[in-house]
Subunit: 337 residues, 6 copies
C-alpha cells in the first residue's frame, strides 16, 4: 500500500498548554501518512510513503519516525534543506481535557511536500516495484498548494492503471483553505479527483454526529455521491459525539452496493487524545479489505482501531492486531497475566 501526503512533526505539550509550555514531546503525524503508518505498524502490511522533506536535521527526524513505524522511507524526495525557502512541516497540538478543547497551531507554509510537481515522481515504477494493491491520499495533501492536486491526480491515474484500489479522505483543514476559498474551494478540488476514487472517507452532506445517525439519510447521502462519481464504490464515515475532550461516543458506517454496514456504538468512551482517530479508522477499514474480510468486519475493525488510537498519546495507535480483534469481540478491559 502506498500513501501520498505530508509527514509532519507534531510538537505536543502533553498536560500543558502550547503558550505556556517549557518542553514538548514530538510525534509523527500527517493525515495520509497516518493511514500508511497504521497499516504497517498495527496491521503489519508493507506500506510506503511518498512525500518530500527538506534535508536537514528536522527532515531526518521525520525519517527517523517513518523508519520506526516500519513504513518504507525510500520514496521520500529529499530537497536541499537550507531552511528559508523549503521547510519541513510542523504542528503544535494540545489534546485537550474535559471542557478544554484540543487546540492546534500549524506551521506548514513552504514545505518541501507542498512544492511537489507532476512529473517528479515515477509513479509507475513505484506501483510496479511494490506490487501495490492500494493507493491512498486525501484532502489535506491536495490542500497544501496549487500543485498538489495535480500530483494527486497523476498518482491516482497511475494507481488505477496498475490495478491498485484508490482511496481518498475528504479531510478538510480550515487552516489550509481559509485564505483561498474555504470549504467550497476544497470541495471543488475534491470533485476533480473523486472520479478517480474507489473508496471515500467522509460523506458529503451528511451529519456525522452519532446521536443524529439516521440510516435513511446516510443512504441518501451515499447514493448521491455514488451517482455523481461513477467509479466510487464505497462511502464510509466515522460517527462521533463529543461530550468533552475526554469523553466521546464513537461508531462508524459504510455504504456499498445499496447496503449499509454500521459498526457497533461505543458510548462514553474515555479519550486521551482524539487526534488521528479518523486516520486510524481508515487504516483499519483498508486492512479489512486488503485482508479480504467482509465489509462488516472492515467497518468494525476501523472503529475498533479508531477507539484504541484515542487511548494513547500522539496521532497514531500503538495497538496490535490482536488488541483490535479483542476489542471487536467485546473484550472487557480486564488484565491478562
Amino acid at each position: 500500500m502506498v500513501s501520498l501526503g505530508e509527514v509532519l512533526l507534531r510538537f505536543d505539550p502533553e498536560n500543558e498548554r502550547i503558550h505556556t509550555a517549557r518542553s514538548f514531546r514530538v510525534f509523527d503525524g500527517g493525515a495520509e501518512y497516518n493511514v500508511a503508518r497504521g497499516l504497517a505498524k498495527v496491521f503489519r502490511r508493507k506500506t510506503a510513503i511518498v512525500t518530500a522533506l527538506a534535508d536537514n536535521a528536522l527532515g531526518r527526524l521525520a525519517e527517523d519516525f517513518v523508519l520506526q513505524a516500519g513504513v518504507d522511507a525510500s520514496e521520500i524526495v529529499w530537497r536541499s534543506g537550507g531552511g528559508t525557502d523549503t521547510r519541513n512541516g510542523i504542528y503544535f497540538i494540545e489534546r485537550g481535557f474535559g471542557l478544554r478543547a484540543p487546540a492546534s497551531c500549524f506551521d506548514r507554509a513552504n514545505t518541501a511536500v507542498s512544492q511537489l510537481k507532476t512529473g517528479e515522481i515515477n509513479w509507475h515504477e513505484i506501483f510496479n516495484q511494490y506490487g501495490t494493491r492500494w493507493f491512498h491520499t486525501g484532502g489535506v495533501f491536495v490542500g497544501l498548494s496549487e500543485t498538489t492536486p495535480e500530483v494527486a491526480k497523476e498518482a491516482m491515474q497511475a494507481a488505477r492503471a496498475n490495478g491498485a484500489i484508490v482511496s481518498f479522505d475528504l479531510n478538510y483543514r480550515d487552516s489550509l483553505w481559509k485564505n483561498k476559498g474555504g470549504r467550497e474551494a476544497a470541495n471543488a478540488v475534491n470533485r476533480e479527483l473523486l472520479p478517480l476514487v474507489d473508496v471515500v472517507f467522509g460523506a458529503m452532506d451528511f451529519d456525522a454526529r452519532l446521536s443524529h445517525f439516521d440510516a435513511e439519510k446516510f443512504r441518501q447521502a451515499a447514493e448521491k455521491m455514488l451517482s455523481e462519481f461513477a467509479d466510487l464504490k464505497i462511502v464510509c464515515s466515522t460517527l462521533r459525539e463529543v461530550h468533552s475532550a475526554s469523553r466521546h461516543d464513537l461508531s462508524a458506517v459504510c455504504f456499498r452496493n445499496g447496503e449499509i454496514f454500521k459498526a457497533k456504538s461505543y458510548e462514553n468512551i474515555e479519550v486521551l487524545d482524539r487526534v488521528g482517530s479518523g486516520d486510524a479508522f481508515a487504516s483499519g477499514l483498508i486492512y479489512g479489505l486488503l485482508a479480504e474480510k467482509d465489509l462488516q468486519f472492515a467497518v468494525e475493525c476501523g472503529a475498533a482501531h479508531a477507539l484504541l488510537a484515542m487511548t494513547t498519546p500522539g496521532d497514531n495507535s500503538t495497538a496490535t492486531l490482536e488488541e483490535v480483534e479483542n476489542l471487536m469481540q467485546g473484550a472487557s478491559g480486564n488484565v491478562k497475566r
Copy 2:
C-alpha cells in the same frame, strides 16, 4: 487592579503522593494573588500584587513566576532573606484522583508577608499611580497574622478613597485559624472588614452544594449580608458538587439589587486539579465587571473560567479569553485545525 496577599510557591508531586515523592513540580499560588494573575494572564488586564518576600533564591523564584504571569512585581516589599526569622511561604499539594481526595501541607509560618504592618506601604501612591479601578484581598491574607487584618483595612480605606471597587473573598483556611479561634474568629475579623467591601465572594450561612441550591435560600442569605454591611453591593458564590476528585458539578450564583444571576450548571465535569478554581471564578467575574458587561455575563464568565482552571495542573488557569468565551457559548470540546 491591585491585589493584596501572599505569593506562595506550590510544590506538587503530580501523580505521586507528597510522602513518597522524589520530585516536585513548582507552581505559583496564593488565593488573592491568583485573582490578580487570572486578570493579567487570561483577561489581559493590568494588575499588580502587593506582598512581601524574603530576598533569597526562593523569593526570587516567586518573583520569576509573578513576572511570567504578567503581574506587576514592582510593589513587592523585599525583606532581608536570612532564612531564620523571615521566610517565604510554600505549600505542598496533591491534586487527588477519583476517590483519593486532594491533600495539602502548608508551610507558611513566619513569612515575610505575615509580618507586614500598617504604614509600610504607600497605598495612595499605588492606587494613584496605576489609576487602579479595583482592589482585592481576602480571608487568607487576613488570617496570616495579627497584623494583616489592619493592613487590609488600611488598603481598603485607601482604595475606596481613590475610587476603586473593593472585593473580598471569605476563603477560610483551617490550617491558619485552628490554633487561634477557628472559623468563629475568622468571621469576627471578616466582619471588621466587610463594611469596606463592595463585592464579596462567599455567602455566609449558605449551603454551596449545587444539588442543594435553592434560589430563595440564597436570596435570604445574600440579603442578610447586604443588610448587615451597608456598602456591600454584590454577593457571589460558586456552587459545587464533588462526586470524586476527578468529577464535579459546578455552577455559580450572584446577587445584586434583589436580583439573582445564576450561571448555567455544568455536570459531571472531568477535573484535573480543582485547587484555585474559586480564585478563577473571582477573576472571571471581576473581568466581566471591569469590562462593563452585565452581571449575568460576569457570573457565566467566572464559572467558565473556574471550569477551565480545573483542566490544567496548578492553581491557575492557562486559558485564553477566547477559550472562556467559547465555553460560555457552549463549545463542544471539538478540535479546530
Copy 3:
C-alpha cells in the same frame, strides 16, 4: 506478620506501551509481598518478607524497595548473582486506559525464589523472633516451581505450630500454569495447602462480578469450601465489574461462621492502575483482624484500601490509615487545607 513470596521489579511504561516505550519507571511488586508491604507502609504493622534474590544490582534494587516500604528485609535469602542460572524476577506491565486493557509481560523464569527448597529457611526462628501473629502466602508463590508448594507447606506448618494465623490467596496466573496443567493443576496444589489455612482470599466456584452478586450463591460457595477444609474459618473475595480500564465498580464480601459481611459498593470509580488492588484488599482485611476490629470493619477496610490502591501508579497503595478510614466513613473527595 510474615509473608512468603516473590519480590518482583515492575517495569512500567506509564502512558506508553511496552512495545514502543523508550523509558520505564520501576516499582516493586509481587502478590504476596504486596500484602506485607501494605500492612507495613499503610497500616504501620511490623512485617517481614521471606524470599530469595540473586545478589546483583537488580537484587539490591529490589532490596532498596523493600526497605523503603518499611518491610523487614533481613530474611531475604541472597543467592550468588552470576546472572545465568539464578535470576531476579521482573515484569513489564501497562496499566491500560479506557478501552485499552492492561497488558503484561512476565519474565520470571529461573528466579532465585523459585529455587527455594524445604529445609533452607529456619521458620521456627523466624516465627519466634518476630512473635509473628500472621503468616501469608498464596497461589503465585506456589505456582513458581515444583519446590515452592513444599516450602509453603513447611512454612504454614511452622506458622500454625507457633500460633500464627495462616492466610492464603488463591491468585491464579495463567503465565505460570499454562505449560504445566493450567487452572486444574493449580487447584490441585491449592487443595494440598488449604487444610493448613485459616483465611482464604478468593472463593472457588464463585462468580466475582459485582453485578452478579447473589448472597445465597456466595454462602453456598463459601460453605462448600469450609466443609472441604475443616480449619478454614474465613472466605473472602473482592467483587468487581470492569466497565473499562479506567472505570470499575468494586466491593468485597466475606464469610465466617455462617454469616456474610459485605462491604458497601462503589460504582463508576475512576481507576488509574488496578494492578495490586486485590493484594490491597487482603492487607486491609488482615489489618482489621490484627487490630481486633469486627469483620464488617475488616471487609470495609479491605475494600477502601483496594480502592485507594487503584488511584496511584504501581501495584501498591500510597494511602495512609487516616485516608482509608476517611473513605470508609464516606469522605467526599474534598480538599482540606
Copy 4:
C-alpha cells in the same frame, strides 16, 4: 535600555540529537533580545524589546518568556497569526559535548519580525517614554530581510536624537546570508549602519582566538574601525579558544581612546552550553557602562557574565549580579551554606 531584534523560540534536545530526539525543551533566544534579557534579569535594569510576533500560540509562548525575563513586552508588534504568511521564528540547537560540536537548524523564514518596515514603530515615543539611555541591535536583525536594515537605521537615528547610546553587534549568521551575498554583503549592510554606532561588539579583521591575541594587532584593528566610523567610540570582542564543545578558554578585550582593556583569561573552563555567551558578554559590558563603572570593570563584567552563561542550559544566563561580581573577584567555586 531598548533592544531591537527577533525573539526566537529555541527547541533543544538536551543530551539527545535533533534528528533522533523524542522531546525538546524550549527556551527563548535571539541575539539582540538576549542582550536586553541579560540586562533585565541579571543586572536588574529596565529594558524593553521591540520586535514583531505572529499572534498565535507560539507567539504567546514567546511573550510568556519575555515576561518571565522581566523584559517589557508592551512594545511587541502583534501580527495576525494565520500561520502561512507570517510566522514566528524558531530554531533547533544542540549544545554539543566533547568532540561533538554544537549544531543548529534555523527555521525563521517569513517571520513577523522580518516583515517590519520603517514608519511602523513610533521610535520617538518609545525612547521618550522609557527615558531610554541605551539602544542595541545587531547583525542578526539586519540580516533578516531587505527591510530590517532600514528599520535599524531609523531606530538608531531616533536613539541618537533622544540621547541614547547606540550599540551594535556584528554577529554574522551564514544561514541568513549565504543565499544573498554572504559575509561581504553582510559587511556592506553593517557599514551602512556603523556611522550611527557608539559601541560595537566584534572587531573586523581581527583574529579572536585567545591564543592568538596580540595587543598590537587588536589596537590596529580597532583604530582602523574608529578611523572609518567617526562616531564609534568603543570596539569590543570576546577572545575564545575552543578545545572541545565542553572546554574553552575565554577572555575579552575592549578599545577606547587609544587604550586597551583586557579581561583576565579563564582557561580550560567547563562549558555546558556556549550559545548566547557573546550576547551575555554584551549585556555585562553594557551594564558596566550604564552603572558608570570604568571600562576595565565593564570588560571584566562582560567576560564573567559570558562565562556564567556557559554553565547553564539555554542561550541566557541565570546568574545573579552577586555571582557575576564574585567571579570577577576570583571566587573559587566553593559552596556557601
Copy 5:
C-alpha cells in the same frame, strides 16, 4: 552505630537554578544523618538516627528516605505536625557547574529537631538496645538552637557510659551562626563538647587545602587539639582543592598517637555534586575503625568514599563497599561486563 542530628529534605533543581526552576528533585540530607546513612547503605552496618520530625506529609517523606537508606527509623521523635510552630527542615541546593559555584538556601527555622530538649530521649535504652559501638553528632546539630548542645552532651555522656566511641564533626554553617556570634560562638560550643569526644572530624587552626598540606603543620594542629582535650584520640580532616565546581583535588589526613596517616591524593577529579562528601569521608573512616582495619585503611576508605559520593547527585553516596575497595586499590574506571 547511632547518630544524632537533623534529617533534612533537600530540594535540588538539578541543572537549573533555584530561582528559575520549575521542578525540584528531592533527596535526604543532614550532616550527621548522612554519616549514619553511609554506614548503613554502603558499608552495611546497623545504624539508627535519633532526631525529631513534625508528623505531616513532609515528615513522612523524610521517614520514607530514612527507611530506604536502611537506617533504623524507630528512634525518630514525632511531633504534632500542625505546621506553624513545629516544622520539618528543608534546604534548596544547586550543585554548581564549572565556574558557577554551588549555592544553597536553607529553611530550617523552628524545626522539630531544634526543639529537642534534654530528658526527652532515653539514651541509655537506645545504647543498650542496639549494643551501640559508636555514637556520632556534630556542629550542625549543636548549632540548631540553644537546647541542642545540651542534648548532644547528654547523648555523649550516655554513649561513653555505655562503652561507645564518640565522634564529632566540627562542621560550621554560617547560616546557623551568623546571627548568634558566628564562628567564635560555634567554637565555644564545640569546646564544651570536645572533652567527651574520641574522634574529631575537622582540625582547628589548620589550612585544609591540599596544595597547602604540610605534615608538620598538621601534626602541630592535631597535637594542640589532643593536648587541649584529654580524651580525644584521633583528629581527621579531608584535604581539598577546588579548581571549579566540576573539578577538585581531594585527599584526607588523620592523626593518632603522634602518627600521621595520609590518604593518597586524587587530582583533577570530575565532580558532579560535592555536597555531602565530608560526611562520606566520616562514614568511610568510621567503617574502617568499626571493621577493625588499621588507620591507614580507614583514612583511605574515607577518602575513596568521599570521592565516590561526588560522582552522583544528592548528598549521599550510592557506592557499594566493593566499589570503595576497588577505588582504594586503584581501579581504572574501566567497565566490567
Copy 6:
C-alpha cells in the same frame, strides 16, 4: 551488509545507579548488531540483522528499535514468546562518571538467539537476496551457547561462498564465559572460526593501551595472527587509555600486508558513555572499506566514529557521516549557524 548477533534491550539509569534507580531509559544494543546499526544509520548502507527474538512485547520493542535504526528487520526469527523457556536478552548498564566506573548487570540466559541452531536459517538466500558484500559476527554471539559457534561457522561459510567479506570481533565477555572455561575457552572457539575470517577486530597478545603502543610489538602480534590464519587479511584494534570514566585517550591501529595504519591520537577526550565505542570503530572501518577508501581513511573513520559514539547516551552513535568526516578533518567543535 549482514550481521549475526543478539539484539539486546539496554536499561540505563542515566545519572542514577541501577541499585537505587526508579526509572530506566531503554536503548538497543548488542555488539554485533551495533555494527550493522552504525553502518545503516550513520553511514547509510543497507544492512540486515540476523537474530532471534521471543515474540512478546519486549521482542516487539527490540524490533521497534531495529526499524528505527534503519536496519532490515525481516530476517529476525520469531520464537513463541511464552516467557519461561525462551526469553529476550536485556542488560542494565551504568555509564559511570569520573572515578565511578561503568557497571553492568546482564540478564541474557535462555534467550531466543542463544537457541539458534544450524540449519534454521537459509543463509544462501539471505546473502543472495541482499547481494551482501560483507558479513559480520563476533565473540559475543559465539559465547551465547553451545550452538551459536556452529551457527556462526555456517554463516561464515555461506558468506564466503557468496563472495562476501567476513569480519569478526574478538570481544570477550567474562559474564558469558566465566562458568564455562573463561578466556581460554573463548579463544579456543575463536580459533575454530578465524580460518573463515578476513578482517578481525581485536589483536591477540597485544596491549591495547594507547600509552603502551609500540608499532613493532603490534606488527609482531598482527603477523603472528596472519601466519596462524591464512585467510586473515586485516587485524585492527582500538587503542585506549582510561583516565576516568569521563576522560579517555583514544586511537586505533590496523595492519595489512606488512603495513601499519595508525589513526591520529585523541587525548583527554570528554566521555559521556563509552559503551559501544568499539562497535562504532568497527562500523566506521567497515564503511571505509565498503566505500573503497584506503585503509588509512578506514582506520581514521573508525576512530572518529568511536569518538562520536562516546559523546551521546546509549551504545550507538547518533552521528552523521558529515560529522564523522568533519572530525577526521580536525573540526574544532565550533558551532555553525
